[in-house]
Symmetry: C2
Subunit: 618 residues, 2 copies
């Protein structure tokens, strides 16, 4: 086939488009317009060719009629899916029976008097169309390889547009509140504490390395010491982790720091942002202030430090109901200081034996790793309570006490786990989420409900039994609560931090703290984390030094932008809100990244590779 | 000395500040206010202590009077420079003779009834003060090491605030014009063409590497193929170059791409941005459209592809004036096809012999590398023209012809260089800039004048005699002018590109082009650059593939944000508009970056270092 494109493909004889493919309405009837876009679908009807022309703004029906232009009609015959064209024509009203109420442009069509084919297209490896009924979703590997085609899907374009708007609202919010957007370095110092750093070898300093920021934490604190007062940055951060399904090696955070800040000021600032975002993007007025819950309470009531409040089914400590029950398992747990905890699952009192056995085996034992499930059913017909443990083993009086404690009614199911605390709480938290998912209470949805929550008063430190040391629960720069500072000497594990997480529908979407601004407290904190003075000086000397010269009290927060946009979009994956995401092995299929490089490049960087299968040659 | 801070330094008993240190005016007199900031200066006058309290918003005088609060007055005695304090007090009008008209807050002062010292400060290594007369500028090495102190200087804070406002205006402009802000990957594929890449070893893919983007060029083109229509991103880019004084290894660009774009649309879009920026930040209405000049014309008239139009002194080809002069040097140049070029330096016709000899020796020969300077002076007293070449050697008639050609008047100096073109033009361009600098025409100034210029019609390719190959003058994705496509076969060096630079006061502040969107043309371009098919597939296969499936015509531009802000601020260095700049050896003195890392980290990344002085152990 001859190339049907105009001979100078880059010359566009129609000049700029007059409208996008989503713009034309009845008021444009009679106007001469120029549209540019992709051929979405084509129909030949009795010598007339209809094209749905697509761009990211919408679809417009364009019509090639031999009586209007024989040349355009003839050329239109060569059009195929995804060809890129420029058309000039006249807007006409569609006949009443041709109006498409599903399309914003559905009342009009454009009769083309000139067509320029700007580019041709081979048949794509999967169908792209703005018409929902024509789409089948190809597998994700293929879609990531052909990301430029996948990104033509209106869903993904909607997500990126949502993301764009989130940026704008966020920046406006912080600008209005006197925050300065300041860029911090991407090539920074390696200070691994937590995740692994991505490293960048230095050519000019042989044997030395930069690291990509896991967060601009130290720099934003330095900006506070520098008197910049209020800082915000929407910034890429990097973690070289073994990626779980919902992580990306490079991710974006809304990074915030504020001098003289109190927790209340941070809460108010961030709630204001969320309110603005939900108002503008969802038309929803979020109730404020957001509820708050301490870390301890969140664990006790929901078995999680990021409770999904949509799910209901609070956890009850029903240990008292089983005191002296004689049931060996329960008695053993209680004697060892453990807990018996229960949730009430409303409306599930009629579940069959098979379903309950599968729940016990596949979920409770296998996935959650608990010892086993005890359950009581109160059938909806009001008949007698069923206990999974025979009455001879666990007397009914205890069962009834537990049922009363959780407030179960006819038709409800009560699930019970027993074990050492706090493990049994987190296990019950997982079971609770499993049930909520089964009941359809917590699915991905772009329509809410939206349950925000501040989780507060995190422990300052976590003891790792394996390495026999404390780790910072938040990070080493988090301030202890002033009244808990003495505990740092006596019982560091009990000290609470001035740290807070923002949780939305069971997702941690932000975390922050009031920071340490006192050199002595910071040094004490490093010591608690097993970082001796020399190492502290080597890695964080610039911050410790900065604290000598008038560091103001300060605090801040970082919000997970990708995750927030994912939730706003009701998307099932972070990959659906990132233009060019990486896979779980940190690979980008479209460009095949990472890849080998020229040996010459490595020589210049004073490094060589040491492949794992050739240790002898290293 | 006992620690004068309140025992729980992080508890701030006054609550949030009611005003910044730049906010109080006579209308606040009588109000109780809370201020927080740094002690800038302190004066004891007859038992009353005066403090200038500083934050990034300004200075406020606070007064400690024993009659108002004995405790506060006593504590204030311990205050030193750069202590961080919170004060609560009452706003009073200053006595008429105490009013400081230089300070926006100069009509009032705050009488303190309670003082909390939030943090102490050691004596800083250099003086910080918002009072200009108290400042001496320490050397830059020291200031970069203590960047958190240097950043307290109002000049640097003003620069960062200017930069913040530039971001906001820029994003608003592009948002209004339907551009989507989209993030492209930082961990991308290494495709070195031009500068060196910064590489990032992959832990999960042994022996493979990511590269940091020199620009998101290929990704933004892919976004156009994906139908995203209009893209903008304010984005960090990275070049591992041997840094000149005015480069940074990581720099920020305003990156723009537009589908179906023509040059005119790009010019209009960017001029609109500049107009908005200068209007809002400078109160200046820029005349539009900006002037345009082809690359050839820019070289011919100014000896540079980034002419500084502030300097005047256009270059004249005065070869014709010297035809048959008999002056051996000029005759030789003309016989070899070279040029004799001249500039008129207004008002310098009375320069002494010594100054001219130094200009010849130190500037023309040594710095610029030209063979030597010929000059003619027309003294301001109207006396006879002086020629640096004796009349016996270069007859006066030729000198007078040249003087007429450049339009020199009494009092003017004419500088002449001869040599092969285009070298002699660039040499004269350098001499022109030297003279303009000497005459004070082109210094750093935040007040303008602002001379914008589009330079257009760049050559597509540059021949490198050393490697005997063509390089892309802009980059390999730049479209040739359609009418020059046939030249790609016959005489590629003559083909012009659809490329343009935006120049401001002799600085290239942006560059862009209409791109190739045709697979065959792109392949041809790669071949011209000596990239064979296999290599093109390996490195740019994803882009070539994308061009199979309906790539729209597209074009864009990238603006150098750091440089634009530097010019807006009238700053002498990029380091003055970047919060944490690196030195010329890509080192960051504050945190001592780059640095050595744990051997363990390298093992995980499958690399080892090969130090240049230990090649035998590699």
């Amino acid at each position: 086939m001859d190339d049907p494109r105009s001979p100078l493909v880059s010359t566009d004889t129609h000049g700029p488009r007059t409208h996008t493919c989503g713009a034309l309405r009845p008021e444009h009837v009679g106007q001469t317009v120029v549209l540019k876009g992709w051929v979405d679908t084509r129909r030949d009807l009795g010598g007339v060719i209809f094209i749905d022309l697509r761009d990211r703004h919408g679809l417009t029906q364009v019509v090639f009629e031999p009586h209007v232009s024989r040349a355009a009609h003839t050329l239109a015959d060569s059009l195929r899916s995804e060809f890129v064209v420029s058309v000039r024509g006249t807007v006409r009203a569609r006949d009443a029976e041709q109006v498409n109420p599903k399309l914003p442009t559905g009342e009009v069509e454009v009769y083309v008097d000139d067509l320029v084919i700007l580019n041709t297209a081979e048949a794509p490896p999967f169908t792209i169309s703005a018409h929902e009924e024509k789409r089948t979703l190809a597998n994700e590997d293929l879609r990531l390889k052909y990301r430029y085609l996948d990104l033509r899907r209106p869903e993904l374009q909607r997500n990126l547009i949502l993301r764009h708007r989130f940026y704008q609202i966020t920046r406006r919010h912080f600008d209005l509140h006197g925050f300065l957007e300041i860029e911090t370095p991407v090539l920074m110092k390696s200070t691994p504490e937590g995740a692994r750093d991505y490293l960048v070898p230095s050519r000019l300093h042989p044997g030395k390395f930069y690291a990509l920021p896991q967060s601009p934490q130290t720099y934003k604190q330095i900006l506070m010491v520098a008197g910049l007062d209020r800082y915000v940055q929407i910034v890429k951060c990097f973690r070289d982790e073994d990626l779980r399904a919902d992580r990306q090696p490079e991710f974006t955070q809304v990074d915030v720091e504020m001098s003289f800040a109190t927790e209340e000021q941070i809460y108010d600032l961030i709630e204001g942002l969320m309110a603005a975002v939900w108002r503008e993007l969802k038309g929803v007025e979020l109730p404020r202030p957001f509820p708050r819950m301490t870390y301890d309470e969140a664990l006790r009531r929901y078995g999680s430090d990021k409770p999904d409040l949509r799910a209901g089914m609070e956890i009850h400590d029903v240990s008292a109901a089983f005191e002296g029950s004689g049931f060996r398992v329960f008695d053993g747990v209680l004697e060892n200081g453990g807990k018996i905890v229960a949730i009430r699952v409303p409306g599930e009192g009629d579940r069959g034996r098979g379903a309950m056995d599968r729940l016990d085996k596949d979920v409770v034992r296998k996935r959650i790793g608990a010892g086993g499930l005890v359950y009581f059913k109160r059938p909806s017909d009001g008949s007698e309570t069923y206990s999974s443990v025979k009455a001879e083993v666990l007397p009914t009086v205890h069962v009834e006490r537990a049922i009363e404690a959780v407030g179960a009614q006819a038709g409800d199911l009560v699930l019970v786990l027993a074990g050492p605390a706090p493990t049994v709480y987190t296990q019950m938290g997982a079971l609770r989420l499993h049930m909520a998912e089964e009941l359809g209470l917590i699915g991905d949805s772009s329509d809410g409900p939206w349950r925000f929550l501040w989780v507060t008063d995190f422990p300052l430190l976590e003891w790792d039994p394996e390495t026999q040391r404390f780790y910072a629960m938040h990070h080493p720069f988090t301030s202890p609560r002033p009244e808990d500072v003495p505990l740092l000497d006596d019982d560091p594990g009990q000290a609470r931090a001035r740290a807070y997480d923002l949780v939305l529908n069971g997702n941690e979407i932000g975390g922050g703290s009031i920071r340490i601004h006192d050199r002595a407290v910071q040094q004490r904190m490093f010591r608690l984390l097993g970082i001796d003075e020399a190492e502290a000086e080597e890695r964080f000397g610039f911050l410790l030094n900065a604290f000598r010269y008038g560091a103001p009290p300060h605090g801040g927060i970082a919000l997970g932008l990708d995750r927030i946009v994912m939730l706003l979009a009701g998307a099932g994956s972070l990959r659906d809100v990132i233009a060019f995401p990486k896979t779980q092995s940190a690979h980008e299929p479209m460009s095949n990244t990472p890849d080998v490089v020229d040996e010459r490049q490595l020589v210049e960087l004073h490094i060589r590779t040491v492949l794992p299968d050739k240790p002898g040659r290293a």
